[in-house]
Structure formats: C-alpha cells, structure tokens
Symmetry: C2
Subunit: 273 residues, 2 copies
C-alpha cells in the first residue's frame, strides 16, 4: 500500500516511537487536529491508511479505533463513491481547538493566576466539593485535603478555603509534584528524537507526502502526550532546569520545517470521488 520506506524515515520514526506503537485512537485525534481541524476538512480512509501504515499500524487496529472515535462522538464518517471520508464532529473540533494553545502556542507571557483550594479537616461537605473539582477541573492534589490549579478559582467554592500561593516561596516538593522527574525525562527523550530528525532534514523534500504527514503527526503526537501530562503552570512552578520551554521551542522550529502540502488531502479526495 505504501511507498518503500527510506532509511531516513525509519530512523526518525523509531527515534520518536522508541519502539512503542502509539495508541491508535489517540494518534488519529492528533492527525485530525494537525491536518484537518478546520470545518469542512476531511481525510479519506485511503490517505489515513497511507499515513498510519508506515508507522506500523494495522488496518484492523485503524477500524477499531475509528469505530471507537465515532462512538465517542469525536469523528464522523461518510461514504462517497468507492471511498470513505472521516472528519471531526463539532464536539471533536471543540476538543481539538481547545488543546491548540497547549500544543502549538507560544510559551506563556506574564505569570497567570494560580489558586489552591483547601477543605477543612473532617469537613465532609468541603471534601466532597474538593473531590468534585478534582474530577472536573485541572487540579493537582496537594495532600488529602487541598489541590492546586491554574487560573482563577472556580465559582463554586462553598466550604473551601481559596488561597493564592506566593511565587517567592515555592518549595521543592511542590515543584516536583507539578513537574515530576518522569515528565522531565519524557521531554529529554523527545528532544533526543528531535535531534535525530534535525539530522535527517536534508532528506525531507524527497519523502512522499504521506510519510511527511506520518512523521509530522508522530512528532506532534509525542509532544502532545508529554505536554498535556501536566497543567500549564508558569515556569517558576517547575523544578530548576525544567526542559519544557526548551522542548517547546525545538518542536515549533521543527514543525515549521516539516510542512505537509495541503494537496495531500485535496488531491487524493478528488482522485477517489
């Protein structure tokens, strides 16, 4: 189905995956978010297969993942002639657009608001309220009766003490809670993979469009997996030497040079209809 894979492609792919296949449904979310986020954009089943096949993803796994994404309301599909087309639903697009800033955005400017919610010792109402916020908001638990979150405090804080942390005194335990060692390592791995891609960029223009799309989406996907692992706290809330910002710059530089022609979607669509 796919063109012969160049050594350059497999080098980059293996550096990014480190031998582990990405979760298929999650990778598809990345692909649609990167290549077909605008309303009306769609990707044919054939092209989708040509993007995912070089990554080692089997057609059966694709079918299962697409079924799941349709069931969960992320994607919809329609048949047209002999082919099928997939596209983001309004719900899927909203989710996807919601992550754009974290994935493609510039690093944060001025320190945004950070809040801490605290329940009273033995105060069941407050504890329930805190648990509810932990379920629905992006909060990190601080011990058993407090949590820290980005942005202003939620409106419904009845029974909770709302606090603002002093940015001058952020203790090491908080920094390693917000930026754990494992996440820093994941950033380092991704940066090493980007060094490999950097070394292969001379061969980029020779790659078939689907393989370009595959590598680009795989990079976005691995970046997205790491960056969405932690809330987007201001830099000072992370341990010293935190690689997040450096990695973001490197991702953005590289994505600018790993462009995929928009014809990839258009041409194949017109061929197949």
């Amino acid at each position: 189905m796919t063109s012969e894979l160049s050594e350059s492609f497999t080098l980059c792919r293996d550096a990014l995956t480190r031998g582990e296949l990405p979760r298929v449904w999650s990778l598809i979310v990345t692909i649609f978010g990167d290549l077909a986020q605008t309303p009306g954009a769609r990707i044919s089943g054939t092209v989708l297969g040509q993007i995912t096949d070089p990554l080692g993803i089997k057609p059966e796994a694709m079918r299962v993942a697409l079924h799941r994404l349709r069931r969960d309301g992320w994607l919809d599909s329609e048949r047209s002639g002999r082919g099928s087309y997939h596209f983001l639903t309004d719900f899927g697009r909203t989710q996807s657009v919601g992550a754009n800033d974290r994935i493609y955005g510039k690093p944060q400017g001025p320190v945004p608001e950070v809040h801490v919610l605290m329940a009273g010792d033995g105060d069941a109402n407050g504890r329930r309220k805190l648990d509810a916020h932990l379920l629905t908001d992006t909060l990190l638990p601080l011990g058993s009766s407090a949590a820290i979150g980005l942005g202003p405090a939620p409106e419904d804080v009845d029974g909770l003490l709302v606090l603002t942390p002093s940015p001058d005194h952020l203790p090491a335990w908080l920094k390693s809670l917000i930026g754990p060692v494992e996440t820093a390592q994941a950033y380092e791995h991704l940066m090493a993979a980007m060094d490999v891609i950097q070394g292969q960029l001379a061969h980029w223009s020779a790659l078939p469009a689907e393989q370009k799309a595959a590598l680009r989406c795989l990079l976005v996907h691995e970046w997205r997996r790491v960056v969405l692992r932690h809330p987007d706290f201001p830099e000072i809330f992370f341990p010293e030497g935190w690689p997040g910002l450096c990695c973001r710059h490197q991702v953005q530089d590289l994505l600018a040079r790993m462009a995929v022609s928009p014809d990839l979607l258009l041409n194949r669509s017109s061929l197949e209809t």
Copy 2:
C-alpha cells in the same frame, strides 16, 4: 485586713468570676500590667494583699504565685523597712507591654496580612519546619500539614508553601476554627458580667480604692483571658455575629469609668516605708 465588702462589690466580683477563683499568678500578671506597668512603678506587698484578698485569694497562694513569678523572671521584689515591694522585671514589662494592644487597643483598622503555611505530603523537612513554627509563632493548625497565622509569613519557610487566603471565600469551618463556639460563649458571659457592673456603677465612688482596683483588675483579667485565647484575626475571619468587637467596646467604655486613683500605690508605699 480588708474593709467590709459591700453587696455591690460582691455582686460585681461574683458576676466576673462566676464562682471560680482566677489563677493567682496570672491575675498578678494582670494587676501589674494594669496598675504598675511603667518603669519604676511598684506595688507593696500590703496593697497587693488588699487588692487580692477581697477576691478570695489567700496570702499563702499569693506567696506561692509571687515566688513562681520571680523564678520565671516576670517580677522582682525588694524589702524596704518593714514592707516588701514587687515590680515587673524588664522581661516582665516587655511581655506585658506586648499584650497592651490586644487588651487595651482599638479594634483593628484595615485588614492585616494573613498567611497560610503548607508542608508537602510526606515531606519530612517541611513538616518539621511547620511544627517548629507552630511551637514558636501564633499559628492555628489547619489539618495535619498546614497552619494559618497573622501578619506576613515568617522568613524561614524553606520547604513550605506560603499562601494568602482570599478574604472573599472564607469557609465556615475556618471561621469556627478561628472563633470557636466556646470562645464566643466566654465573650457572652463576660458581657453579662459587665451588665451587672454597669448596674452597680452608681456605687463605684463609694468603694475603697483597693476594691476598685480589685474589680478593675478582675475585669481586665477576665477580658484578657478571653481575648488572648484566639489570635487577633480580622473580623471577617470570625463567624457571623462574633461578639469580640462588641465586647471590646464594652470593656473599654467600662474601664474608662472604673478608674483607680494612682494614689493607691503611692500613698501606701510612703506609709509603709
């Protein structure tokens, strides 16, 4: 030793003590703080006995308490002729002056700073630092790994997260921690006692100076016991209807009308030397 006790005196005294003798050493601290806080001021043993005897305090209890206060460095004594004189040491005066604002001061103006210190879950260093601050500072524990205190945070907060509570969202559990029901009741009892005194003020001028001093100091003492029971948080940190402010006004009004002639100390001193 003392003049005959009038019904007016015993009514006021019993309303203030509610049948319970004050701790003698603590009452003596109140008496020196109220009547002999200025450098050079002293109270003769005879006058001190004449003040405490109508309150039901035995000479033996006075001796024990004075011994303890000398041992702890609060008071010193000297003999002169047939009498002895007691006075605050520099240490005792510093302690006494330090409490003046809480006891005699005006209610707080603008909301002063309040801080919360938080140790990390399972962070032994931070927990030790928090325990140290709990021992030495006026902090109220919030659960097992946090505490709330008045004023700016201490300097030594290594390992602790420093937070500022939002005054817009003070939950009921925090308010009842800062202003417990028992303390509110103690305020109410004191206000009821002050109503009794108020009703007897017509007889005030007829009281012997020592009995005036006894009632005045007993009122200051009972007030001091309640007001020093909780840190001086801003009004909004207390439960709704908190009687602290109202009680403070009533105490200040009453103390202004329960003046004790400064001759009480001078005359007796000159008589006895």
